[in-house]
């Protein structure tokens, strides 16, 4: 598409670049939070917590740029979708960063207690699964690949299954040895945070779909009913 004003095209490109940068930061935050938790790396946890400000300010900047672009250039059709998607994308990514920060705060507390190795491994596995989904959806965004976005969206149940399995495992642990309740409660929240990052990845996939096609991804998604059975 030819833009009459060259600067307009540049502005759009810049917006995408910022979103991708934010994506890279969020991806690293989530991955590092899992490593800091699994290896009990306090320094890494601390630096993830400190880096969160960067994500917040970049998100604010993306929002400012997008609003400015809408106000001054009045984009339509694809460009408008692109701009709105950038704003929504940034919001979801910033939330992922917050959740990663929360995981690190809990890791700092957990590092003071006895390690619970099998549970730590289960959480690490779930964490790797979630990081993979975040990576896939960001790849779909940068390469405008509809199939990959849909694939991420359709595979949400894997994370849910992991979460439900972990939930049950944690309950068993707490019942067997009440001294572990304090640590297990934190692990439960870490698992929940990861599950929510997985949900954000699904939302991101929906945004990519909307940006490319202009339509909403609304059909029935395969959804486990396992949680209902637990609750």
């Amino acid at each position: 598409m030819e833009h009459t004003v060259k600067a307009y095209g540049e502005e759009l490109k810049n917006l995408t670049a910022d979103v991708v940068r934010l994506g890279g930061l969020a991806e690293a935050q989530v991955a590092d939070s899992i490593v800091s938790f699994a290896r009990r790396d306090l320094n890494l946890a601390q630096s993830v917590i400190e880096r969160d400000d960067k994500l917040d300010s970049l998100e604010a900047e993306i929002e400012r740029k997008a609003i400015r672009l809408i106000a001054l250039r009045q984009p339509v059709a694809q460009d408008l979708r692109h701009t709105v998607a950038a704003m929504k994308f940034a919001m979801q990514l910033e939330r992922c960063g917050d959740l990663a920060k929360n995981i690190c705060k809990r890791s700092l507390i957990l590092a003071e207690a006895e390690p619970l190795s099998p549970l730590t491994r289960s959480i690490e596995r779930m964490g790797n699964l979630v990081t993979g989904r975040l990576k896939d959806v960001l790849d779909a965004y940068t390469s405008h690949n509809l199939d990959r976005a849909v694939a991420v969206w359709a595979r949400d149940d894997e994370v849910d299954e992991h979460y439900n399995s972990l939930f049950r495992e944690l309950l068993t642990y707490m019942m067997a040895d009440p001294r572990t309740i304090n640590s297990c409660a934190h692990l439960l929240f870490i698992a929940k945070n990861l599950e929510r990052i997985g949900d954000h990845a699904t939302n991101l996939a929906e945004i990519v779909y909307f940006e490319i096609t202009g339509e909403e991804l609304m059909s029935e998604r395969p959804k486990g009913d396992a949680l209902q059975r637990i609750l």
Binding site: R21, A28, T142, D157, N164
Partner: protein
Amino acid sequence: MPLLQSPSPMAPEPSRGASPRAWILVLALVLGLAVLALTVAGRLASEPAGAALLSLGAISAVVWLSGAPARRLAASVTVEAAPVVGLPAAALMEVAEGLPDPVMVISGYDPGDFAGRQVLFANLAARELFRIPAEAMLLTAVRNPEVLEVVDEALFAGIEGQTFYEAGGVQDRYWNVLAKPLAAGPEGHKRALLVLRDQTDARRNERMRADFLANASHELRTPLASLAGFIDTLRGHAKDDPKARDRFLEIMAAQAWRMARLIEDLMSLSRIELNEHIRPSDTVDLSVAVSDVVDALGPQAQGAGVAFDVHCAGPAAVTGDRDQIVQVAQNLIDNGVKYAGRGGRVRIQLICGLTAAEAVALHNPNGARLSLLTPDHADQLYAAIRVTDSGPGIKRDHLPRLTERFYRVEGQKSGERLGTGLGLAIVKHIMNRHHGGLAVESEEGAGATFVVYFPLTLAVANAAAS
């Protein structure tokens, strides 16, 4: 205008990593290079600084990439091919393009303009790793903040820097990243060279050793303790009781066998994991491999009172390692026999020409299905092996953890022959090496199905599609 234009319309697309396509790529590459050499030589000849820049970059990359034994050779190349005398620019392009490690030249103008960071040149390895065309915005290739930082330092501060980069995905690779400043281009465009070196082997070796020791010591402790206990008993009060002695010796032999199997499985798992990022290159017919395994396990199944029900529509050629594919089929069918129990059945199906979604599609509407391994880029056709047993099935809660090492489903008996708890972990790692997938489907009380699917070789996939 960037100095290095996109090589030519004939330059190869980034590969999807399918090795049967490799020769097509090589062919396209040779054609592409010929055109590229002409184009670039013409463009660069008019600008000596550009040729010098590229040759310096390529040579420093070669020197950095080559190990100690090759260093002297590389050094002599540096002297002979000094940029003033110069290899022809086209030959240097060919060198850069053919380097096994990813190499990129990046340009930037304004530190605040992130969209302005461009990849001017990416060799074949870099295009494959990052899945980009020869020319792209840097951020579409890399978004890792640490890599972006060393690139920025090289571009705008002129500082050489190194960092690590983890590519992520199921085929996880580790790279050492080197960013080096280059001479500035026209209009003050800053340039930097980015070279990646594969460190996956070193990282894997390190981690594997730790894992192996931890697993082996933990899992061998129990059978070893029981052996020691029986030895004490045999020395003590069971000394003169031939009946008890025979029984104890039998248990001890079983424990010893279990330890031997455990060590064998652990070692084979370690070997598979070490090679997991190296894709096999042989062509294997799945139908032959499966029927070989079925024949081999026949007597054992008969002894256990389990009937086979085989539906193998062959041939199904896939790219793979025959021994490992046999191991996959063997582990799955062996599990099926164990869980089906006396009077049970094991159904083995081979289905060709499926998409990834079709391969894992749920067959039993009441069952639960979970994908235990999904290939990174599932946009091709697959051949699937489905192994269904008529056993007690697996509860949904256990499904996500089936491929975990030493995970055993509580309260489940796997017959008299106790497994090592590594069978499915081995299957998963082999499937990952083959860029395939693994899924499980089960309904409690109504058996379990394991599905593995391998990407078909290109020729077979084309035939199946048409």
